[in-house]
């Protein structure tokens, strides 16, 4: 029963994966308006040759700010998690 269920889920997922290339042709995205805008105006507005970096750091700068803050918070979380192992037992008495 369990094996049949696993096989059925696997077959459904495989069939879905195989039908995706039928409906979506590779290399032709559905919406290209923003891509056109960035390719045409990126070099004159942001003055960078690498359009990807100019999007990440200029057009979508707030996203990068959030990403940096998330990384900082993750480091603080890891530091809090390993704090007790690093400090030893002398802090528990206080």
């Amino acid at each position: 029963m369990k094996k049949a269920l696993t096989l059925g889920i696997f077959l459904v997922l495989a069939a879905g994966l195989c039908t995706i290339p039928v409906f979506l042709t590779f290399g032709q995205p559905a919406a290209t308006d923003m891509d056109r805008y960035f390719v045409e105006h990126g070099q004159s507005q942001a003055a960078a040759n690498n359009i990807v970096t100019s999007i990440v750091f200029d057009y979508r700068g707030f996203d990068t700010l959030g990403e940096s803050v998330v990384l900082f918070t993750a480091v603080i979380g890891v530091g809090l998690l390993f704090r007790s192992m690093k400090g030893g037992e002398e802090h528990e008495d206080e």
Partner: protein
């Protein structure tokens, strides 16, 4: 508890080259594929190589805990400071005020494929350096914390 002599010699040999490559990816982030996060991750890989090869007592002599914490904090502060500096000159937050201005990193870029100049892209290289330093310190400090707990458990 450390790896064999082959691993330690290879780590010593590769450590400066990986750091140089990562700094190249960070510094040329506005010209070639890559950028602050990718270059910082490459530099952190060099730290990870040393951290894996040596024991915790030897790693703290090569990669210092305080220096990595300082790198992370200074990187994030420099990144936010580059955003606030746009407010100081009268433009919106995070505006690219140095682009096409003729000052530092301020040369204009012609349209179309061109070889590229390092002195372009305004505030983007500064942010690249900031994010690269921050990712370097952050990922290395995560690995150092994990190795410190491992060293405590093993002894």
């Amino acid at each position: 508890m450390r790896m064999s002599k082959i691993v330690r010699t290879g780590a010593n040999l590769l450590y400066p080259f990986i750091i140089i490559f990562g700094l190249y990816v960070i510094m040329h982030g506005h010209l070639t594929p890559g950028g602050g996060f990718q270059g910082g991750a490459v530099v952190a890989t060099a730290a990870a190589l040393v951290i894996v090869a040596y024991s915790y007592q030897e790693v703290t002599g090569i990669i210092r805990n305080v220096a990595m914490k300082a790198r992370e904090s200074v990187g994030l502060l420099l990144f936010i400071g580059a955003g606030i500096a746009a407010l100081a000159v009268g433009t919106p937050f995070f505006y690219n005020f140095l682009a096409n201005s003729g000052l530092l990193f301020g040369m204009p870029v012609p349209f179309g494929p061109n070889p590229g100049d390092l002195n372009t892209a305004g505030v983007i290289p500064i942010m690249n350096v900031a994010v690269g330093i921050e990712v370097w310190g952050g990922l290395a400090i995560i690995l150092l914390y994990m190795l410190s707990s491992v060293a405590k458990e093993g002894s």
